[in-house]
């Protein structure tokens, strides 16, 4: 399929580093699937937990697990790896995967999950069927209640693996029946390593600031990083910071950073120039404000200033969410930010 499609790929980059072979390798599948780790050793981050699961996979008899953590840190990947390692060739028959897009009301738990748990599947000795419930925190409480007894009754044949973003939405009886594993956000260096790895494998042309931009926009979310990388590489060919922010449709953080620094120095005119520029470029108010927040968190400034800034940005974001997404709100924010370091006599 890839071969026949090659001549058609007009938007494929004509950069010198991009050669024919890599294009045929690229195909059209999303890279997050293409580069989804299959072995435990390939999983990025949370090494301690992953190593422990690896031992379990070798010895069999894994307890029910809940993996909790922010998006894009490899929760589902870990569970799939585990299932693959445990079941091997019978992966297809032995695994039931349900995520939030599946209907998961109480009926599904009562019927589909129970039926699967009752089903007889020929598995190698010492293996269990695995039911994967992705995004389990979106399950209704009733469904979770119905699940708890099921988990116990079929424990001799079936294991559950749950993935969720916040563990507090999982009811206590279920937490009690599982070993809870907490995943933390990936560090920038971990994301960077993987991104560079993919770049090398895909033979992309990139600049360093481009990769930096990818890592910045990802915020520790590997899925986002690879998606952005792929969209930039396939859409615009070259991975540079301009292209990345064009693809992600985000204001350039350097501009925003400059704007904030002007605010710290109470230089309203300069700050407003940047804001007006961003506004003219057509960015949505919400994109601008969330970008300001993100940049503000990472910009070095005095603790007090940062705190006050975040507070003001928060209030502005609240208003924008409530519907007043105008330039006026943003300019008002800038003015308030500028006034922060002014002496009070001048302000009043």
């Amino acid at each position: 399929m890839a071969d026949s499609a090659n001549p058609m790929e007009t938007d494929q980059p004509s950069t010198s580093r991009q050669n024919q072979t890599s294009a045929s390798k690229t195909g059209h599948g999303p890279w997050i699937e293409k580069y989804r780790p299959i072995l435990f050793t390939d999983i990025v981050g949370n090494e301690e937990t992953v190593a422990r699961l690896e031992v379990f996979a070798k010895q069999g008899n894994v307890p029910n697990i809940i993996i909790a953590g922010p998006p894009g840190v490899g929760k589902t990947t870990t569970i799939l790896c585990l299932a693959r390692a445990l079941l091997g060739p019978s992966f297809r028959e032995g695994v039931l995967e349900l995520n939030a897009s599946n209907d998961r009301g109480i009926d599904v738990v009562r019927n589909k999950i129970k039926m699967f748990a009752q089903q007889k599947v020929t598995l190698p000795k010492g293996c269990h069927k695995i039911i994967i419930l992705d995004e389990a925190d979106s399950m209704t409480e009733g469904a979770q209640q119905a699940l708890r007894r099921t988990m116990e009754i079929y424990s001799s044949t079936t294991r559950f693996a749950l993935a969720c973003n916040s563990s507090e939405k999982i009811i206590e009886p279920i937490q009690s029946r599982c070993a809870m594993l907490r995943y933390s956000k990936l560090s920038d260096s971990q994301v960077l390593r993987k991104v560079l790895d993919v770049c090398a494998k895909e033979n992309l042309s990139y600049t360093e600031d481009g990769i930096e931009a990818i890592v910045f926009t990802a915020q520790g979310d590997m899925r986002q990083a690879l998606n952005n990388l792929q969209s930039t590489a396939q859409g615009l060919g070259h991975v540079s910071s301009e292209n990345v922010f064009k693809v992600c449709d985000e204001p350039h953080p350097l501009l925003v950073k400059e704007m904030l620094q002007h605010c710290v120095k109470t230089n309203f005119d300069e700050a407003y120039k940047i804001l007006a520029h961003l506004w003219k470029m057509g960015y949505a108010t919400e994109d601008i404000i969330s970008n300001i927040f993100r940049v503000c968190k990472n910009t070095p400034m005095a603790e007090y200033m940062k705190l006050e800034f975040i507070k003001e940005i928060g209030y502005t974001h609240l208003r924008i969410i409530q519907g007043t997404s105008s330039l006026l709100q943003l300019s008002g924010l800038l003015a308030r930010l500028c006034s922060k370091s002014l002496e009070s006599s001048l302000v009043s």
């Binding site: 029910n64 009926d107 594993l181 933390s184 609240l318």
Partner: protein, 609 residues
């Protein structure tokens, strides 16, 4: 399943009607009889430790002796046919051994234990389908509804004893997996029970799990009047004490080494930290143990190293009254590593994990050597601080906890960390800002990060670092949850009691109920607790709740608190001049009733410390 197939036996009358049920009862019987160690090691690779090492004897139960005795008394009395000992209700937090106790005792008493399991329904009516427009062929028999199936099961199992096991005369029906209908419409359950009461002779045990944060379904499923009507015995289980838990884990490790040869045994310290993390939940601690023991044991202790450190510290300075089980917090000195290590394997979402995060925020260690990085202009010098060691956002992200929940915890525990009223007011100022940001519930997901940043940074900033001399402090669970829960329960109880009243809820809680409570009190009667509880609201509440986080007491603190509240009132009320209190009461009541049933976490009360 394959294993089960060979061991199938008919255990009860209703067995053929649903498949699940049979599986369950055979599990119950085969699993819980680990006689020979040979059989166990063969199965060892397949079962969860929770099943494999389930208690088989009374001595193995990790439950307080008194509770076991209470349950046993009920069984003996019920079997001897004392009237009004037909129903038993067990409640308690998850993993405190309710079901295990019942099973063990039932076996010892020679009862035939039958558990109700919700059947898989083959028939499915779409909610959106119009019932009337659907064509049903003549003579088509609709499959029975859930209630009908349940009722059938219930009446039959209770009436007839098992044919296959004639030695076991009496049936004991265990209902843990309540059909969903009953949770929505408890009155249908009550109807079934009333009907049964006139017919059956078997024993019925209900097991309901309490939750920490939400209103427990005990009160909705079995309101007080139903309990009275059916003369139901209610036994409340508490979370398991750490010492008993340790014994249980040691027993498991002993059994494990007996049948699998001498495996590595984790150190006592490692076990203790694991128990601490599980918060009195035996099931979760066994799960965690199974998970943790797998690898090298040396790593187990490393895994919990963060915990161990604080543990050792708490031992070296035992305090009066509260023993080492009180989790004391040292000033966090560890770096990211131990934080991450602790994050790797935890039991439930319990305290210990929170401790470290809270400690990082509230103690707010600053780097004293680096000097000030970004100087502020002269007039803001008061706000200048040494650089903080922890990044506020990082701490928050590692917690995997909602920002509003975090805020309630911070709010509960913040006051002792500030030296003067100015810093307290400054800190609270930022917390209120965060609260405003959190108020927009439709967009909470978007603003969550702001909420956390503002409150955490605000608390850190307001802390001038002059109170570090105190050293160790205990953290407590927010009262908000227990107050909210109690409020919910009392509201629903009131609604039920005054269901014939035409008054609105506000009028009811502020006018009628206080009046009635006063009248009752004056006439020296009025044992009707709900009216008293709501009508005579006093200050005794704030005194009674200082639940220590993570200690096992934290869990049983919830039910006990209610009792204490009632006691406090009966003692206090006659003396205290009511006029002075009246305005307060009504205010408090008003606040409570405005606070609606939604589940958002707001900060409503101010702990007076």
């Amino acid at each position: 399943m394959a294993l089960k197939g060979s061991k199938r036996k008919l255990t009860g009358w209703v067995t053929p009607s649903f498949d699940d049920f049979e599986v369950s009862s055979s599990t119950a019987q085969t699993k819980r009889r680990p006689k020979g160690s040979g059989k166990k090691s063969a199965k060892g690779g397949l079962s969860l430790w929770v099943d494999l090492y389930a208690p088989t004897k009374r001595d193995d139960l990790a439950v307080h002796k008194k509770k076991i005795e209470e349950v046993e008394t009920w069984i003996v009395e019920a079997m001897s046919g004392i009237r009004g000992r037909q129903f038993l209700l067990l409640s308690g937090p998850s993993g405190c051994g309710k079901s295990a106790t019942m099973r063990v005792l039932a076996r010892e008493a020679g009862l035939n234990l039958i558990e109700w399991i919700n059947p898989t329904s083959s028939y499915y009516v779409s909610v959106f389908e119009d019932e009337e427009s659907k064509w049903i062929p003549e003579g088509y028999i609709m499959p029975p509804t859930q209630i009908e199936v349940f009722q059938e099961f219930f009446l039959r199992t209770c009436k007839y004893s098992s044919v296959c096991e004639p030695s076991k005369k009496n049936n004991l029906v265990l209902i843990e997996d309540f059909p969903n209908v009953f949770l929505r419409d408890p009155s249908s359950l009550h109807t079934v029970l009333r009907k049964f009461r006139n017919v059956g002779s078997g024993l019925v045990v209900f097991i309901v799990t309490d939750t920490t944060y939400r209103q427990s379904s005990v009160k909705t499923l079995f309101p007080a009047d139903i309990q009275q009507e059916l003369s139901m015995i209610h036994i409340q289980f508490n979370a398991i004490a750490n010492s008993i838990l340790l014994k249980a884990l040691n027993r498991i490790l002993g059994m494990k080494s007996m049948c699998e040869g001498s495996g590595p045994i984790p150190s006592r310290e490692a076990l203790e930290s694991l128990i601490e993390a599980s918060g009195g939940d035996v099931r979760s601690s066994v799960n965690a143990l199974q998970f943790a023991v797998k690898k090298d044991v040396r790593q187990l202790s490393e895994l919990f190293s963060g915990t161990r450190k604080s543990k050792r510290l708490s031992k070296s300075k035992p305090r009066n009254g509260s023993k080492s089980s009180t989790v004391l917090l040292q000033e966090p000195q560890g770096s990211q590593d131990d934080f991450g290590g602790l994050a790797a394997v935890g039991g439930k979402d319990t305290a210990l994990f929170l401790f470290r995060a809270l400690g990082k925020i509230l103690y707010c260690k600053r780097d004293t050597e680096m000097g000030i990085m970004d100087p502020l202009p002269k007039h803001l010098k008061a706000h200048e601080r040494m650089p903080v060691l922890e990044n506020a956002e990082e701490v928050y992200e590692k917690m995997a906890m909602g920002a509003s929940t975090l805020n309630t915890f911070l709010h509960q525990n913040m006051t002792p960390f500030y030296a003067d009223i100015d810093s307290v007011s400054q800190a609270l100022h930022y917390m209120t800002d965060a609260d405003v940001l959190a108020s927009e519930w439709t967009d909470r997901g978007v603003l969550e990060d702001y909420v956390a940043s503002v409150s955490v940074r605000g608390l850190m900033h307001a802390n001038k670092g002059s109170v570090s001399s105190g050293g160790l402090r205990t953290f407590t669970r927010p009262q908000w949850f227990s107050v909210h829960k109690q409020h919910q329960e009392q509201l629903s109880a009131l609604k039920y009691d005054y269901r014939n009243s035409f008054l609105s809820l506000e009028e009811l809680t502020t006018v009628l109920v206080p009046l009635k409570a006063k009248v009752d009190a004056a006439r020296g009667k009025g044992n009707f607790t709900v009216t008293r509880d709501v009508g005579l609201f006093t200050h005794s509440f704030s005194k009674s709740t200082a639940e220590r986080l993570g200690e096992h007491d934290a869990h049983n603190g919830l039910p006990e608190m209610d009792e204490e509240l009632c006691l406090g009132m009966t003692k206090d009320d006659d003396e205290i001049s009511r006029n002075a209190l009246q305005s307060n009461e009504e205010l408090a009541d008003d606040n409570f009733s405005n606070d609606d049933a939604d589940e958002d976490f707001r900060i409503d009360e101010f702990p007076d410390d």
